[in-house]
């Protein structure tokens, strides 16, 4: 991605053990960051939280598959108009294009597919996603574009009754 945020400023990194009980922590950290930095509206924070949960779940499953003891890395970067969450695993390298396509929901066969919903969810929930599989693992880069920084509640007419200072 050409427009990747560069430089170490504003980078926050979380390493979690590749175990299911830590996915909730990754969600909590990302949604807290998004809300304290006032980067996104509440429903978009929910979207990002869900996308990060899906990416971390896949990462943990990738580690279990190859039985590696390494941690999953969740990296956050932001600037005024976008934020980026990178989830990196040390699994086998996962290519989302190889996912089997699900039958249409109206087909009774659809009930045989309990998995494979995470990637379509990520693709829908974030503004931009990139999967970068390699022999040493997979990096999932999710980008959300933020509302203009100068937007405040006054723009929605919520402060109409307030006296000018």
């Amino acid at each position: 991605m050409d427009d990747t945020l560069d430089g170490p400023e504003g980078i926050i990194e979380l390493e979690i053990p590749a175990r299911p009980e830590f996915v909730g922590l990754a969600r909590l950290v990302v949604s807290s960051l998004a809300s304290t930095r006032r980067a996104l509206e509440d429903d978009r924070i929910d979207d990002l939280k869900l996308a990060v949960s899906e990416a971390c779940t896949n990462a943990i499953e990738a580690h279990v598959e190859v039985d590696v003891d390494e941690r999953v890395v969740v990296r956050w970067r932001d600037d005024e108009d976008r934020l980026e969450v990178l989830v990196e695993d040390r699994g086998r390298g996962f290519d989302p294009d190889t996912l089997p396509e699900h039958p249409p929901v109206t087909d009774p066969e659809r009930l045989n597919f309990e998995r494979g919903l995470g990637i379509p969810l990520i693709r829908t929930l974030v503004d931009q996603v990139e999967f970068d599989p390699s022999e040493s693992g997979t990096a999932v880069r999710m980008v959300m574009y933020c509302a203009p920084a100068d937007l405040d509640f006054g723009d929605f007419g919520l402060l109409e009754d307030e006296e000018p200072a």
Partner: protein, 112 residues
């Protein structure tokens, strides 16, 4: 992170399973076990009440799809109660609103 699972064994002939908390890769296995347990007790009409759920991801969806499949194989059904926008959205994106009957309340679900 806690998952609450409360069972009301007989409400108008349905078993109501009220789920509370976060359903993800860590907690979803407990939801699956509970559904399997109810089915093994011969409860084939199950209403899963999601009103107390704060978070649900694809692992939770998978468990519900698996439960529905299991119940249909017994000529039963698994229906849902959900009015929360952020949870409904997950069903909408994945097209599963077409697979599950989703009701506004437990009363509506057991009257269906």
């Amino acid at each position: 992170m806690d998952l609450g699972l409360d069972v009301e064994p007989d409400r108008n002939g349905y078993t109501v399973l009220a789920v509370r908390g976060e359903v993800d890769v860590y907690t979803a296995p407990r939801l699956r076990e509970k559904i399997v347990e109810l089915v093994s007790e011969g409860k084939y009409k199950i209403v899963v009440d999601l009103e107390g759920v704060d978070f649900l991801d694809s692992t939770g969806l998978g468990v519900l799809v698996g439960g529905l499949k299991r119940l249909r194989s017994h000529d039963g059904d698994l229906t849902l109660v959900c009015t929360q926008h952020r949870i409904l959205k997950v069903f909408e994106i994945t097209g599963l609103t077409k697979v599950f009957s989703i009701h506004d309340s437990v009363d509506a679900a057991v009257a269906a």
